[in-house]
Amino acid sequence: MKSRNLPLNKRGFNFEMIMWIFTRLSALAMYTLLLIGFIGALLMGAREQMNFADVMRWAFMPNPSHVINTNIPDIAPWTALFWQLVASALLLVATAHGVHGLVVIADDYIVTSNGRKIVRLISMLMMASTSLIGLYILWTF
């Protein structure tokens, strides 16, 4: 009997489905980064120095500006390059995930192929600008 596996080029592995799997994988990635931020914060002694909301804020975006107003005596470990990178990764993944999420919603209501092209164009602009602005904030603090 013939092999019952489809080669890559016959799977319909197109932009839509790549983005579909990206949405799931980015969700997992965000969870991982979140966990890193959360555990990192606790390791750096957040338990005594911050309230719950601040820990959460750090976990969702490990950016020093999120903890600057807390009782942390020494901000240095929170500004390490490692956290800059984690925050940037989270930013990029979340932006791609979120913007594509908006595209998916728009696709439900905008069905002409031209309309969809415009949506995709706008989304790319959004993605680029949000990423750039976000990176700028993260790295120029």
Partner: protein, 235 residues
């Protein structure tokens, strides 16, 4: 028991807008909603219009929204609904009259996924059946049960948004053939469904599975198709 039946009414010959008509009916708990509608048509208002044929949930004619949820009128019993019953046409298809909607867009979508068996290889030398093991047969059993009633498609938020979404019923049909070990056109079909108007528009809302009167795991079928585009595994 006494049942208050509220029915969506719209007659294009006279009405500009739709309205509800209310009927009080003496019913048995084991009566089907279809029996109530038949009673209304027979004795109270002959103009009430709906589709039906088999009366036991196998032909797919009488999909409607019963107390807000898509079901077959002939497979929904009064005892499961209580004394207040509201019947509306299914959503997302133009209403032609009362509970009758235009089914053409639904069938058009169905036809798009090449819903027929394709195998251009020569038949087995003995001229007999193409062999298939019970396990291979089992693989797509669930999706062969579909009666094209449209309960699923017209409960899907993506379909409500626009009917260019193929809808769960069409995807179930695609699943029926793609996972049939005898069929050879999986790649062609996937090319059709793995697009913006297909798989990508299913957001696992599960309304379809909840509505399917044949208890087909519709979302699962769609999910398997999605994963197929990633892994290529047809087994």
């Amino acid at each position: 028991m006494n049942v208050t039946l509220k029915v969506f009414r719209y007659n294009p010959d006279v009405d500009k807008k739709w309205h509800y008509d209310t009927f009080n009916i003496e019913a048995q708990p084991t009566d089907r909603v279809l029996d109530l509608l038949e009673y209304v048509k027979g004795y109270l208002d002959g103009t009430l219009t709906f589709r039906r044929s088999c009366a036991h949930g196998v032909c797919g004619s009488d999909a409607m929204r019963i107390n807000g949820k898509n079901s077959l009128a002939c497979k929904t019993l009064v005892r499961d609904l209580g004394e207040k019953i509201t019947v509306d046409p299914i959503l997302g298809l133009p209403v032609k009259k009362d509970l009758i909607v235009d089914m053409e867009p639904f069938f058009d979508n169905y036809k798009k996924v090449l819903p027929w068996f394709i195998n251009d290889s020569p038949l087995p030398a003995d001229g007999k059946e193409r062999l298939q093991s019970p396990e291979q047969r089992e693989r797509f059993d669930d999706s062969t049960k579909c009666i094209l009633c449209a309960c699923c498609t017209t409960s899907c938020p993506s379909f409500w948004a626009s009917d260019d979404y193929l809808g769960p019923a069409a995807l179930v049909a695609a699943h029926r053939f793609i996972f049939d070990s005898r069929d050879e056109a999986a790649a062609e079909r996937i090319e059709i469904i793995a697009e913006t108007h297909g798989l990508a528009r299913c957001h696992t809302a599960f309304n379809c599975t909840m509505a399917c009167p044949r208890d087909i795991q519709v979302t699962k079928a769609i999910g398997e198709l999605k994963m197929l585009t990633i892994t290529g595994k047809l087994e």
